[in-house]
Symmetry: C2
Subunit: 165 residues, 2 copies
């Protein structure tokens, strides 16, 4: 992927509601050009969507935990992800190398809720669980490094003046 596209993606990762006007200024293109590029990035699947970042504490989900799971009977078909998908407390499901089969990220209201969810995980997927409770989150979902800060592109052949109508 090329430089300007990376800058666009970087900017949208930091602020997914940036207007095309601001985006255009950041990357040094016209509004239409940026709009076209964003549309192409979206339909190519580079940008998969937009989401509000919310405080889970405010949503009464203050307890986060990682749950490593392992099938009780390794000879049976492994369809744990589908069988667990109905549990809304599961934020993410990663298939991993190592001793465990999957690593789940779950968010719940508290210890009692965690206990209930663990039981549901075990019975739904016929697995054993090993749980690691999160005590705090110094940082999460940081924007990936995608080329340079995207600010140095602005001064590359484009006058900062707006022509006006």
């Amino acid at each position: 992927m090329e430089e300007i596209d990376r800058a666009i993606v970087a900017a949208l990762t930091v602020d997914g509601r940036l207007s095309y006007t601001d985006l255009a200024e950041k990357v040094g293109l016209s509004v239409s050009a940026v709009h076209q590029r964003v549309r192409r990035l979206e339909q190519r699947g580079v940008v998969k969507g937009y989401a509000a970042r919310v405080s889970f504490e405010s949503l009464d989900l203050p307890l986060t935990a990682f749950v490593a799971i392992r099938p009780f009977d390794p000879s049976q078909p492994d369809d744990a992800p589908e069988r667990l998908a109905h549990l809304p407390e599961i934020d993410s499901c990663y298939s991993v190398a190592g001793e465990d089969f999957y690593l789940l990220l779950v968010r719940v209201a508290g210890p009692a809720d965690l206990e209930r969810v663990l039981q549901e995980i075990r019975t739904s997927a016929n697995v054993t669980t090993r749980t690691t409770v999160v005590l705090s989150t110094p940082y999460e979902h940081r924007p990936p490094k995608v080329a340079q800060p995207a600010d140095q592109l602005r001064q590359r052949g484009v006058p900062a003046e707006s022509p006006g109508s």
Copy 2:
């Protein structure tokens, strides 16, 4: 938090770029009322921001791994998160209960890059690492369950007709 706010948050979690027009229709309020509520949710910190959801494969970061870290010398002050913050490959940092001190989520270009990042983690924070490679991600960042589907609010005292201008 009350019912309508939860519905708003739920909708924005699924689509962070929903227009206030659509949002207003979903929760059965006027555009202005919804706009006010979103602003309050933002400044109360319930909505912390908006971000584009991107494909890490497209960004040349196809390899994800969890890195559990433990201080080499537990008697020294534990400031690993700050000392690791400069590494852009670290997506998230969780302080955890259990045998390890922190669990890091890292995204890199490949095995060689992972090796480099692990070395940087060890030397930057004076820790030992135990790494779990992610093979695939069945699902990630699913929207949390926040009250009912937010569709049943619409038909609660509000005619679906648009009054027009």
